[in-house]
């Protein structure tokens, strides 16, 4: 098992190198000449050339990529063209906000969705099921940013209960977290329901009932435990999505997270910032995916056995 984890971590290296390579090239090939962007309006050819030299733009691109990767090992992702600040530091400043939002949203979603999914599955084809599914259906059909706008209209403009944006204390977290969480909740509900429905039809459920186990034990002990893998998968995917930044919710609520950092930097053509932030997000996502894969092993002995064999 431990060998498997080490192997997976080692395997992450080429994956990160490949992704960062693609991103670095894409960004630097299409971003236009940054020297022109950076130079003052009335700069001479000489000055522009100096800036190029200073930024190392005259080296061939693979040399620049090599230097960039070496820098990355030291936590140096370059300097923003716009703010002149260290990219890595900026990213790390924004990251806690994104993590805060992501975890709160996923937590809200899970707390609502998993019980609801189980409940609808148990009451399949009754009005309770239909009600739950209509909720989930609206949830997945609604554009997330629109839900955010609606929440602002209701709770901050009309009722004036909560702030409509920014980040000041716990109260400003509620609306963004609800917005992101509701979209997730809909998806998790649907996944939980269909996973539970698959499991409910299994023979071992009848075995458990035939033993004399109560319906509660049957559903939770035998049912849920077997349905967990797809549920964990979807929760994990939502979490890794949220960690790369819920761009839209962050925009709607002016939440100073990673997602907005990327979108803002794109619109300002801040190539080092965009490249750095996206590469860091990918690293983060790799780590989250690894953690989820390891959680699988915790719940399913078959997957654990598989890992041990591969390890």
């Amino acid at each position: 098992m431990i060998r498997y984890i080490i192997k997976r971590i080692i395997l992450m290296v080429p994956a990160i190198i490949a992704t960062s390579f693609i991103i670095y090239f894409a960004m630097n090939m299409t971003g236009g000449d940054p020297a022109l962007t950076l130079a003052p309006e009335n700069a001479t050819e000489q000055q522009i050339e100096e800036i190029r030299e200073e930024l190392g733009l005259n080296d061939p691109i693979y040399v620049r990529y090599g230097k960039y990767m070496l820098g990355m090992l030291k936590g140096d992702l370059g300097t923003s063209y716009v703010t002149k600040r260290d990219v890595f530091k900026t990213f790390m400043e924004r990251l806690p906000n994104t993590i805060e939002l992501a975890f709160t949203a996923v937590l809200i979603a899970t707390l609502i969705a998993v019980p609801l999914g189980i409940y609808t599955a148990i009451h399949q084809n009754t009005w309770k099921d239909t009600g739950g599914m209509v909720f989930a259906l609206f949830g997945v059909s609604m554009p997330n940013f629109w839900l955010g706008l609606m929440l602002i209209i209701i709770f901050s403009l009309n009722l004036k209960w909560l702030p409509s944006g920014g980040k000041e204390g716990i109260r400003s977290l509620i609306l963004p977290a609800l917005t992101v969480g509701m979209g997730f909740a809909a998806l998790i509900t649907r996944t939980t329901r269909s996973a539970m429905l698959d499991v409910i039809r299994q023979d071992y459920m009848t075995t458990a009932r035939a033993k004399g186990a109560s319906e509660k034990t049957v559903i939770f002990q035998h049912g849920l435990k077997n349905a967990l893998i797809p549920i964990i998968t979807v929760i994990g995917m939502q979490l890794s999505n949220a960690l790369t930044g819920s761009v839209l919710a962050e925009t709607v609520f002016s939440w100073p997270g990673v997602g907005r950092l990327i979108v803002d930097s794109i619109s300002k053509r801040d190539t080092p910032m965009v490249t750095g932030a996206i590469i860091m997000s990918c690293v983060l996502m790799c780590v989250v995916n690894l953690v989820i894969d390891l959680i699988y092993a915790f719940f399913d002995p078959r997957i654990k056995a598989q890992y041990s064999r591969k390890g």
Partner: protein, 330 residues
């Protein structure tokens, strides 16, 4: 007190779906004596598994529904029990062995836990004690105690079926329902498992309802036999009566279809046609359309069980005719 452990009377079970109503079990009556084994024989769709699940009151509902009838288990009616009584009964008084050992075990629990769960549910003992008991059960069915901490995927089909048996027998039930316990297994493994079941129920003075399509297995294990066709019992009696004085045309057809009784070169005599659609059973006797002895009368009314002597009953109108004998009249 009677000497019967189980008495099923006039049981009717239906499955109601969008496409129509399936009459899975119709007016079913039979009983099992203490320490006796009854074989319930029939082909796919005859209603055998539904019968077994009804005894545990475990018909999946919806779509299934027990319409009427009574199932007396050692004097109390399973169909009127409340949830708590049912849970107390299941696994403790009546236990079940399922057909497919590959799917009957929970893949994310160790087999030790699964056996112990059964014991914990019915006896007030600690987790540790129940695990010890589970290990004893494993030894009893021929699996090393050390494997109690393994998961189902680490076992072969035959071994898993042994685990299923261990779960069923963990609380010393009075009645064992075995639903095609050896069908999914290879012949040599089938023989091992069958011997094991036979040995254990004799040792523990248990009764058994053995559901199978294999007349060979019935001959090996059962004291009494009931033959089912399209949700009804068409013939019931002691094994000797059914095998040696076969009375129902369907039972006769089953025997004639078996290749292993025949010498080379002799032709099999299959039953013509096929099982009727359970959603659209023919009027009168369900077997009439396939029956070589059927007359117009058979297509009108459903035959009741007729006593032939001993404990032998048959549901066939042909016996209204004088001197009717299978194979003889035609």
């Amino acid at each position: 007190m009677t000497d019967k452990i189980l008495e099923v009377k006039d049981l009717v079970v239906q499955y109601v779906t969008d496409d129509g109503c399936v009459e899975a079990v119709n007016d079913l009556s039979f009983s099992i004596g203490k320490k006796k084994t009854l074989g319930l024989v029939g082909e796919t769709g005859a209603g055998k598994t539904t019968t077994a699940l009804s005894i545990l009151n475990l018909i999946p509902s919806p779509p299934g529904e027990i319409k009427s009838g009574s199932i007396m288990l050692d004097g109390s009616d399973v169909l009127t029990m409340d949830q708590e009584e049912l849970q107390k009964m299941r696994g403790n008084d009546v236990a079940m062995i399922f057909q497919d050992p590959m799917t009957a075990l929970n893949p994310v629990m160790t087999i030790g836990e699964q056996i112990a769960e059964s014991i914990e549910l019915h006896e007030k003992i600690s987790k540790k004690e129940s695990m010890e008991r589970a290990k004893e059960m494993l030894k009893l069915v021929g699996i090393a105690e050390s494997r109690a901490y393994d998961y189902p995927h680490q076992f072969s089909g035959g071994m898993r079926q042994r685990v299923v048996i261990a779960i069923a027998l963990a609380c010393n039930p009075k009645l064992l329902l075995a639903d095609e316990p050896t069908t999914a297994l290879d012949v040599t493994i089938q023989a091992q498992v069958l011997e094991l079941i036979k040995k254990l129920i004799t040792e523990r003075d248990m009764s058994m309802l053995l559901i199978t399509h294999d007349l060979g297995v019935v001959a090996e294990v059962c004291d009494d036999v009931a033959v089912m066709y399209a949700g009804r019992i068409v013939e019931i009696g002691t094994a000797a009566e059914i095998f040696n004085e076969t009375a129902h045309p369907y039972t006769e057809g089953l025997f004639n279809s078996l290749p292993n009784l025949k010498q080379r070169g002799e032709k099999l005599v299959p039953i013509t046609g096929m099982m009727p659609d359970p959603m659209d059973l023919p009027e009168g006797c369900s077997f009439a359309p396939r029956c070589p002895y059927a007359t117009e009368a058979c297509k009108k009314a459903n035959p009741g069980l007729r006593h032939l002597g001993g404990s032998h009953y048959v549901a066939c109108q042909a016996y209204e005719r004088e001197n009717f004998k299978l194979g003889g009249e035609q």
